[in-house]
Structures are given as C-alpha cells and as structure tokens.
Amino acid sequence: MGIPRQELEALYRQYAPVLFRRARRLVGRDAEAWDVVQQVFERLMTTSEAFRREASPMTWLWRITTNVALNQLRSRSLREPDGKVADEAETTDDGVEARNLISVWLKQLDEREASVATLLYVDGLTQEEVADVLGLSRKTIGREVEQLRQKAAALGALPKKELAHG
C-alpha cells in the first residue's frame, strides 16, 4: 500500500490545518498536536484506499484524530503523572476545563466512553455527529449518552455548562 507524494501533499494542505487546531484543543501543546497530525496522516497513508472511498473524509479524520489525541494524553499521563494542565501553552478557562475533564475520563471511562464524552462535551457535537464520527448507529449513541452522562456526573466530570443545563 502506498500513496503518491503529490496526493499526500494535496491532502495534507487541505486537511492538516484543521486537524492541527483540533488536536491542539485536545492535547494543549503545540509539539504534541503536530505529533497527532503526523500520526493521523501516517494512518491515512496506510489506509489510503479506504480513505478515498470515504463519503465524508472529515468525519473519518475526526475519528482518527480523536483516537490518536486521546492515546497521546494517556501516554502523557503515564510519562508525567504529575503533569499539570495549567503548564500548557493554552490556558484559557475552557481549554483547561476541557483537558481536566478529559484527564478524568481517560482514567475512569473506557475508550469508547472517553471518545464519546470528548466529542459530545468538549467539541460540542450533536449525538448524530458523534455517531457519524465514530461510525456507530445513532440509536446506539442515543442509548449510551444518558448512561455516560450519569457516569460522568457521578465522577464530577461534566462540563459546567452541561451541569447548568442539568
């Protein structure tokens, strides 16, 4: 399997900027966000035939970016058990809250729950969009979201605005 250099460059120019910005929102550090972008494109390069058949390339890219970014954060928590979110370059309240929540989800929820919670509560996607990104049925997501909400609330790991909507 391979990808022509020109095609890789065209896809990179088209998608890398938005993927970097999304990865940056999740991992909070520039260098790690570029690592995420690189890994996403490495995945794309090894599955380029499947990528070409994607009806919605961006949902595929979001799925991979979410997985890679959350894995990056898992690795970081092992590498830097005392790492503080506040040490990161971006210190907006929203950014800090988001990464504090993700940190709890990664420790307390399973992989899928953590992905759903990230897409739903950090990215603010609708349940339909979450289903599309994760390649799951909307019915499945609908069922899981309420359970997830209760679980996250019990952990004290729901965003403030979600608590306000309560």
Binding site: G2, P4, Q6, L8, Y12, P17, M45, S56
Partner: protein, 234 residues
Amino acid sequence: MADHLSALELDIAVSGGTLAPDRTAHLGECGDCKQKLERERSAADAVRSRPEFSATLARLSSQPSVGAKVIPLWRRAPVLMTAALAAAAALVMIINPPTADDSRLKGSANVELIGETSHAVKSAKVGERLQLALGAAGKPYAMVLGVDEHGAVDAVWPLSGQRSGPAPKGARTVVSGFEVTEGSLTLVALYSDQPLELGEASKTLAGALKDGKVPATLELPGIVTATAHLEVSK
C-alpha cells in the same frame, strides 16, 4: 434560526467540503457563523505558514510508503476511466499556451500536465505517469474539472471534498500525480476568490461547452480559468 455550525461542520467548510443543504442555507443567513468561518479560515492559513507545518509534511513525505503507488487522478470519474480509446487528433493547450521557452509568466493562471522530463505534455500513452501542476494567479481557491470526449464533466482536483481546495502558491506547483487511463480529456482549472461548489461549477462549465468541447475562449463570471488538453493513445 437553526443551530449554529458545529466545530465539525466548520472544519468541513474550511477544508473545502460540502455541508448539507440546510446547513449551507443557515450559513448563508447567519452572520455569526460567517464570521466564525472566516476566523477559522484565517487560522488555517496561519497554520499553513508555520514552520512545523512544512516540517511535518517533510517527515511524512520521506516515509517509504510515499510514492510507492500511483493512483489515477480522476478516480471519481468512472466515465473517463472506461471511455473508449481515443484516436482523435491532438488538441493541445487551449488557453495560456506556452511561451517559446515553455516557461510561463509568473502570476498568470495556468494548468499543466507534466511528464518525466518536467515539461508540459500534450499527449501521453495509457499507463504513463504524469503530474498535475497549477498556477492560480494569486487566487486563493482552485478546482480542476475534466471534460471527456463525450462532453461529460467530472471532478479531477481536489482529490476529495465537494468544493474548491486551497490554491497552491507559485506559478507552477505540482498538486497531484496520476497514471494515464484510456480516453482523452480537457482539464479546466477554475481559480476563484471564494470556494466553488462542485455541483454548481460542473453545471456552469457544462453549460459553457460548445458541441461538447471546451471553447477556445472560456469565460465564466468571477472565475479565472486555464485549460489544457491531453490526447491519450494506446
């Protein structure tokens, strides 16, 4: 008013994809979403100018899997791929013909198919490998359509998405490579200030054809065009 565009929808729009019709309609009438989209586009442009952007691409390009296989450029155009072999006489560059030394004025709109010798080619054999090069004349968005021997219009570049992609900088920048398949075709590059929708652009171009062929002078409102014809033989 409907919900504002989500982060996913904004990313789709910024990268040249197509939103659902109702979301496109919302974007058309929502000042907040328009502003947000412009901000996201500017931010994406800023990311492209960062040194890490080029460095990451360089790392990816150096990997062994890159360049290992050439994919047909017009993969989304099965009609073109299966068309009968053309034996018609070559009709070469229609607009922006090459100057004597085959170089082009910097800044002029341009589309070229480049062969192994790095020169623009006008004819090729099935199986030959060519590169698509664009010169957007300073316009920020580019789309390339292909018109086959039967006058059918289909998308050629960007390789994915339903809208124009970010135009490459430079007067002659390679954006993609492909293996020549059966059937001659004319490439039409559309350079614009705003991204074009694939459906609309295809319809507009189809309407401008004369007897199923791209006219010698192609004028589309608000769009800078460049055209190149490739005659394909067995």
